[in-house]
């Protein structure tokens, strides 16, 4: 059986009509993961025994027609806590950590009867854009195993793109869902800040973090977001706005006719690869042919996003990561003489270099004498960047541009130079600073590597992004091209 090119609706039909059982689908999924993962390295931990038990329980009841996700295999990024299933955030400091509760997202998915196949590799504590800062393993791009999968949700992206699972979850603090989705030719949504509960997401930058779905098609993505979104009493920043059935609006009648789209000139400026620029200009033409208007607009402060972000996100991280002290859980250094030693040595031995760099930057930005010049200044620039978006979105339905300035780069290419690595996020970071939804959609290829388009919307208007992404998908064939891994793919 090859379900690589099946969308959720057809998998669901097969399960409802008993063309296959949930157990068969789950077993096939593990067989495929085991066959392909030596090449890809997407998964850190597999959940086979519990998954098969769960599959049998669902089979015993039968998959109901109104349970669209029942029996569907999912991958979960390893910074989303799963009760009884090891969760490391790809850090040595959490190498042996087993959560005692499920993240709200996982709880909702369990209620929707999805099957957790395993936990996916990521940059340590989601800090990085290539999944290379993982303390445990290297994940490869599904399209070219000499290239990075992007990051920080690189394991989730590679798992979906290589056909291991139809759905995986990522988290996005500065582009960590969208950039790996772009690098692997899949669809990834960073929802509006507050749309999805962060309860059980190991915190990085609390005012920026959002969990979101990564899938092969726009409609699959929309189906999954509806299942995980909504207010949660455990996350008081989660919004109490009603959650629409995002997939319901996606059908033959879906159209962008009459929509006004803003294409910021800064998104196509220097530093953006020619192939990427051309893919986005071609996508703009597609939207014009479909009856939308595409205007050149300006986000004049976009270029300051990276600096503001690395101050804000690192400051929040330096505070959030204080909890890793070697006392209650996680790694504790040996040969310590006193309590101070436990803290300092456990942290110094447990965290990797990139995490230490961010903790240092954040501690510096918040420290006495530097707070006004760095943290406070960045928080004000954040307001300026938000106002740029507000001005454009006042008379445009959404903004379009590339996800990243380049396609996937080579393994090892950027890791040594933090600033080069940070600049790779220049087009995704401002969206987190402003708390807006951002959708990555496949929009072309450059030397056989996928190129992603980013659609940015008004707060809580994921629906418009899905419609626009769906209309684009229906009129292009980028999403239906699949990487060749050998074996059954």
């Amino acid at each position: 059986m090859n379900y690589f090119d099946k969308d959720l609706a057809s998998l669901h039909d097969d399960l409802v009509n008993k063309k296959m059982s949930v157990r068969e689908l789950t077993q096939e999924t593990f067989a495929n993961v085991k066959a392909t993962d030596p090449k890809i390295g997407a998964f850190l931990t597999l959940n086979e025994d519990a998954a098969l038990k769960q599959a049998d329980a669902i089979d015993a009841e039968g998959v109901a027609a109104d349970d669209p996700l029942a029996g569907i295999a999912i991958g979960v990024k390893d910074n989303i806590v799963t009760k009884g299933l090891k969760t490391t955030a790809s850090s040595k400091i959490l190498a042996n950590f087993t959560p005692v509760y499920d993240a709200t997202v996982v709880e909702k998915l369990t209620a929707a009867k999805t099957i957790t196949i395993g936990k996916t590799n990521m940059d340590e504590f989601a800090m990085g854009g290539s999944t290379e800062t993982s303390a445990f393993q290297t994940t490869k791009n599904a399209w070219d195993q000499t290239k990075v999968p992007g990051g920080s949700s690189g394991g989730s992206a590679a798992a979906v793109a290589s056909g291991q699972v139809p759905v995986a979850f990522g988290s996005d603090t500065g582009g960590s869902i969208r950039q790996p989705s772009s690098f692997n030719g899949i669809v990834g949504m960073k929802p509006t800040y507050g749309r999805v509960s962060r309860w059980g997401l190991i915190a990085f930058g609390s005012s920026l973090d959002q969990i979101g779905p990564m899938t092969r098609t726009v409609k699959d993505n929309a189906t999954v977001l509806s299942a995980i979104a909504g207010h949660d009493k455990h996350d008081l920043t989660s919004s109490d706005k009603a959650v629409p059935d995002f997939a319901a609006g996606l059908n033959e009648g879906t159209s962008v006719k009459g929509m006004r789209i803003g294409l910021p000139k800064e998104f196509l400026a220097e530093g953006v690869d020619d192939d990427v620029r051309n893919a986005i200009l071609a996508a703009a033409d597609t939207y014009r042919q479909l009856g939308a208007t595409v205007d050149e607009v300006s986000l004049p402060h976009n270029k300051y996003g990276v600096a503001a972000y690395y101050i804000i996100a690192s400051s929040e991280a330096s505070s959030n990561l204080q909890r890793f002290d070697g006392i209650r859980y996680g790694y504790r250094a040996q040969d310590v003489k006193n309590l101070e030693d436990v803290y300092v040595k456990s942290r110094s031995e447990g965290f990797g270099d990139e995490v230490k760099r961010r903790i240092m930057l954040g501690t510096f930005s918040l420290s006495a004498g530097f707070y006004d010049a760095y943290f406070l200044k960045a928080a004000k620039v954040r307001t300026v960047i938000m106002n740029d978006f507000k001005a454009v979105l006042k008379d445009h339905d959404f903004i379009m541009g590339p996800v990243a300035p380049t396609p996937a780069f080579g393994l090892g290419d950027e890791l040594m130079d933090p600033i080069t690595m940070y600049m790779n996020d220049v087009l995704t970071i401002p969206v987190n600073l402003a708390g807006l939804p951002g959708l990555a959609v496949p929009a072309g290829f450059s030397n056989n590597l996928p190129v992603g388009m980013q659609l940015i919307g008004r707060p809580f208007d994921e629906g418009t992004l899905y419609k626009a992404g769906y209309a684009f998908e229906q009129n292009t064939d980028f999403h239906s091209q699949l990487p060749k891994l050998g074996g059954q793919n």
């Binding site: 008081l236 436990v342 307001t383 809580f460």
Partner: protein
């Protein structure tokens, strides 16, 4: 050009962050942090006169709840994650440096 951050400042910040670095690590980290702080300083080009700071983009304001303790009944599982535990307590090394008793 003057350093934006000195080796001594890096050591001071490391102390605040409860991290320690070897000399070799400091040699590598100091210029990297200096470069990144240089990137941070480009923000001075942005006029933020009279602009409010944004530290939260949630649409929820002042959400209240009752402060009630809940028993999750998970103390055994929690202690399984502790590096060292004994009789229901987390065990830590002596707080006072034993060498100070001499």
């Amino acid at each position: 050009m003057a350093d934006r951050i000195t080796r001594e400042q890096v050591q001071h910040v490391a102390g605040l962050a409860k991290l320690e670095f070897t000399d070799t690590q400091l040699d590598a980290f100091t210029p990297q942090l200096d470069d990144i702080i240089g990137l941070f300083e480009t923000l001075s080009e942005v006029d933020t006169e009279g602009v409010e700071a944004t530290t939260n983009v949630s649409d929820q304001l002042n959400v209240m709840r009752e402060d009630v303790a809940e028993d999750w009944g998970q103390s055994a599982a929690l202690l399984d994650n502790a590096p060292d535990a004994e009789r229901g307590y987390i065990k830590v090394p002596a707080i006072i440096d034993e060498s100070e008793d001499d």
